[in-house]
Symmetry: C2
Subunit: 216 residues, 2 copies
DNA sequence: AATTTATCGATTATAACATATCGAATGGAT
DNA sequence: ATCCATTCGATATGTTATAATCGATAAATT
């Protein structure tokens, strides 16, 4: 089962399973079937089974998967079991919100420090240091940081990305609503709110249109 | 060209084009070709052309698209030209960050008010009212709000969603890391950071593994 | 012990999607 | 005025993701 090649769509569904498994009450049965999971999350049972088969092999007919073991398997697959260090650039509103979000530990993510062009404080509310952006590249090197989180305005995002890459970063989590040009081997994950909004907006438009037509 | 059926993948790419077109300097040529766009954003030129053909028909050989007209076409298609009202539930760190984000106007989104189970203030920094969550359903009805933004902890998300739907909401933008059960016709757009993290995390794991193997 | 039932896992089929290729049209160059 | 380069648009191919089908297995029941 271990890795080889995994489709990105599967990857995006795994956290969903994980979250559901974890929120199951303590008293529930120690086993859960792929079918049950599928029903709970409103997806096809075949798809769920296939996804689970990619990361685990503990499925037994009539019984299902052992919940604890399955959780462990998914977490291990997603790399949530060993923490990765990251830094955040852009200590604005969004940046601070992310720094304050305590849930990242759960996903094996540890934000070491924040950087800003004009640091208004030396430490965040949570006690994480805030440095001037000029220290960025050097910090990456000395701490061997592999992930950078960009929460700066769009016009500065590319420049920040370049500095991160120069510092040896391998993955970028980009919250700036702009395209980043990066060399191959560097992964950019865009958390673009504009795309989500587009989906919602078009849906609403269709919905309203439909309503008008049924009224006729 | 107008609507009919549009694939979700196309939809997600359109905001990228739009953002790039808008950031082009004033002095640049009034026309742009699909080829140029493709190169700038690092995508296939055929795909870009196909996408643009879905929303516009102003493409002319040798010239390309008129930039202004293309921007208008995309914005109209995405519904950015007429604003839609929305409300936000959960005035925590993330919720406040979203309220403070001024860029939403540009996408035709107008957040009317925020709701919280324990409002700590009656107004946000931006002057938007903050109500108790008990007023939620009534507010939706009287203001005919169609979109709700959920930024409450995962355990309360489903309950909030139910109230929104009871109030007549048609689209939900869900920032809570949990699955929401909704009746058909209601769209849930999950802005799940966990999925993005999963993609990044697995990439990093593969990257590290690769490095070790090349060192051998 | 045999049968039934529920579930996993593999195989196959379908559909969506991205990519490549080709012809047509247009504006600029010669 | 003719030719050429560029770009759009449409068609065709390959790839990938999704869905449906089938057999096998293990527990529960009779």
């Amino acid at each position: 089962m271990e890795s080889k090649k995994i489709s990105k769509s599967v990857l995006k569904r795994l956290p969903g399973y994980l979250a559901y498994l974890k929120t199951m009450p303590e008293g529930s049965a120690p086993h859960i079937s792929a079918t049950a999971l599928a029903n709970a999350l409103g997806m096809g049972e075949v798809q769920v089974r296939k996804d689970l088969a990619m990361v685990s092999d503990g499925g037994r007919p009539k019984i299902g998967y052992q919940r604890e073991a399955l959780i462990d398997d998914i977490e291990q697959f997603l790399g949530y079991d060993n923490t990765t260090d990251a830094i955040l650039i852009g200590a604005g509103k969004l940046g601070q919100a992310l720094m304050a979000y305590s849930g990242f530990d759960e996903y094996g993510l540890n934000i070491l420090a924040a950087f800003d062009a004009n640091p208004k404080m030396s430490r965040t509310e949570e006690g994480k240091p805030v440095y001037n952006v000029s220290k960025l590249e050097q910090f990456c090197r000395t701490h061997k940081v592999l992930m950078g989180i960009i929460t700066v305005p769009a016009e500065h995002a590319q420049s920040v990305a370049d500095q991160l890459i120069a510092g040896g970063i391998k993955a970028i989590w980009n919250f700036a609503p702009t395209h980043l040009d990066v060399p191959p081997g560097i992964l950019v994950q865009n958390e673009n709110m504009a795309t989500s909004l587009a989906v919602l907006s078009v849906h609403l438009k269709a919905q309203i249109k439909e309503e008008k037509e049924t009224k006729k």
